[in-house]
Symmetry: C2
Subunit: 358 residues, 2 copies
């Protein structure tokens, strides 16, 4: 078990050794820690190796000039200049919030970025300003549109964070697939199979092999099959791709650059880097803030009172599960799988810093 502080400091050091300014390294480490603390280990320390290898391949700009390249009073396009995704994303969300503070809402589409970690982190930034936060990103193509065998879309997550009053906020953060890609990686590391309905092989035949993507297979969209609405998952994922990439001038769909170094950079490109989309809406742009919060509390209480199915203790509000995990992790520490800890130790050796495998 590791403490948050230990892994935070280690992550900062890794990115500073790669050449990131300290402010950027701190920005990056905060997002990694948010993933680990919320129990989303698929987006936590396991990804350090991916970033390290991308950097070694010269595919990350550690001294980026993140800049607004187009704007209106309540929108902007941000160019991330090839930065670590967390840097372009944090700055983009800050811009969306600044615009919302002035005009009610702010919307930023970001290009030339990279994998930005958990979508929920940026949505949650809005909460402290009494704003609704929205965050989404495209990602490297692993997911097939309905009735296709071509991996054309990323797992393209959507996060929405909504402030409440006395209750903890509503935080939805989910991939537009039945399962996040990182969870396949975790299953593979653990040597486990996955349920049918998550992935298909290169011919479109359902599979339970979490490593099938390396053999030309693809992930399925939320819904799983057409009869159960996989075309709705395709719609959602496509909307995320278009808002993130067509609006910003990033690569879309099959052209999104890989977030792992073992996949080559595609020669053909239709834009710059990976794309994200962020929104911030002041709650008092709709209702007085205290009225909104009281009603949101009532919403949360109403749904907490839903009658659970037999054998289930209680009905959850989006965000509850991650908060429960966070409480546990805050007490017990962060667990890092041995295979990942060994990878981190190797990276530490390469960079001339310390990592203790526990």
């Amino acid at each position: 078990m590791y403490t948050e502080k230990y892994l935070f400091n280690f992550t900062c050091k890794v990115f500073m050794k790669m050449g990131c300014p300290e402010t950027d390294a701190v920005m990056i480490a905060k997002v990694f820690m948010a993933a680990e603390m919320r129990g989303l280990s698929s987006h936590g320390m396991i990804r350090i190796k991916d970033y390290y290898q991308l950097w070694k391949s010269g595919r990350i700009n550690v001294k980026p000039n993140v800049a607004v390249v187009h704007e209106t009073p309540c929108t902007a396009v941000v160019d991330g200049d090839g930065s670590v995704g967390m840097v372009a994303a944090t700055r983009s969300m800050e811009i969306a919030m600044q615009k919302a503070a002035k005009l009610g809402t702010g919307w930023v589409s970001t290009r030339n970025s990279n994998h930005y970690g958990i979508a929920g982190y940026y949505a949650m930034m809005a909460l402290q300003k009494d704003m609704i936060g929205i965050s989404m990103t495209n990602a490297n193509p692993l997911v097939a549109p309905t009735f296709s065998v071509s991996p054309m879309l990323g797992t393209n997550p959507i996060a929405v964070a909504i402030p409440a009053g006395k209750h903890e906020p509503f935080v939805a953060d989910f991939a537009t697939t039945p399962i996040a890609r990182g969870k396949l990686a975790v299953a593979e590391k653990k040597g486990e199979k996955v349920p049918y309905g998550y992935v298909q092989d290169r011919e479109g035949v359902p599979s339970d092999n979490p490593a099938i993507l390396k053999e030309g297979g693809s992930m399925l969209t939320l819904g799983g099959d057409y009869e159960h609405g996989s075309h709705k998952g395709y719609c959602l994922s496509a909307v995320v791709d278009i808002l993130s990439a067509v609006c910003s001038g990033a690569n879309f769909g099959p052209f999104v650059p890989p977030s792992v170094a073992y996949l080559p950079v595609r020669k053909e490109k239709v834009g710059e880097g990976t794309g994200h989309f962020f929104g911030a809406m002041r709650i008092d742009a709709f209702q007085k803030a205290d009225v909104f919060k009281a009603k949101m509390d009532e919403w949360i209480q109403t749904f907490r009172n839903a009658h659970p199915v037999h054998g289930i203790e209680k009905v959850l509000i989006p965000g509850d599960l991650e908060r429960e995990k966070e409480q546990k992790i805050r007490k017990e520490g962060i667990s890092v799988l041995p295979a990942i800890a060994n990878d981190l130790e190797q990276i530490a050796l390469d960079l001339g810093i310390d990592f203790s495998v526990q």
Copy 2:
């Protein structure tokens, strides 16, 4: 088979006989026809009876004062004054578009409305102004949150329309459940069973009975079961509910008034009527319009070129299926099921107008 013109005129007459001003009746009939022409008969003529019965029960205001009750430069809350949903919704979307024209984006949350027909109609209004259109609504509670037996949410659809250049626009319009409620009604009218994964009985046991909702059952969220991401469908549906109702001051979740007269009005309420949420974003708030459209064309062409699974002719873009249906219906006419035509004939008799069963 009926012509669009015949059913449009009939629908106008029905709502004018109920007391709606002609401009409102035309607004309403346009949305009904958009549903029928796009092959979404579950939201077409079958719903006239619902509206007629609500009106007879005094649950619809046919002379509403639809008004902005709160606003910022790019947001507004609209009070629909108990109107037919299509009236409050059309005016709300117009306001969102006016705000977007000035500032880049516009966002409207609407309360005190009723069932607004197909979500896609309002999203598509934005296309003619080179804007991305967004539309969503809550609806009467038929859907259980993940691990619950309580019908707490509506089928809460989301629609997103995105302009393209030489290609037809991208139009996604889908309920946040595997199937729309209206499709259960159609299956019931046809005497058909539905696949497992759509509905559960009052104990939470899966069912194939499309009429199970009348026996205390509930619909399931997109994903179907937890293992396949039904909690993501729950998140989506909840976000729609909160943006539509907490932002506007409408009823949320289980308090949303029924859109059918055979269900009584709930005594307890937490707001006014049904809620909707609309967004409009000028494409040139992000990219020059011609650049955006060219890139959107490229997106569409790329996805059209996806390799289909064996036995499927081609991979579709959201909106293609409805356009194909529209072409067919424009040639062949609109089919109205005998049971629905008989209902319409009865309504016509009651109101002293004509409807010919064909």
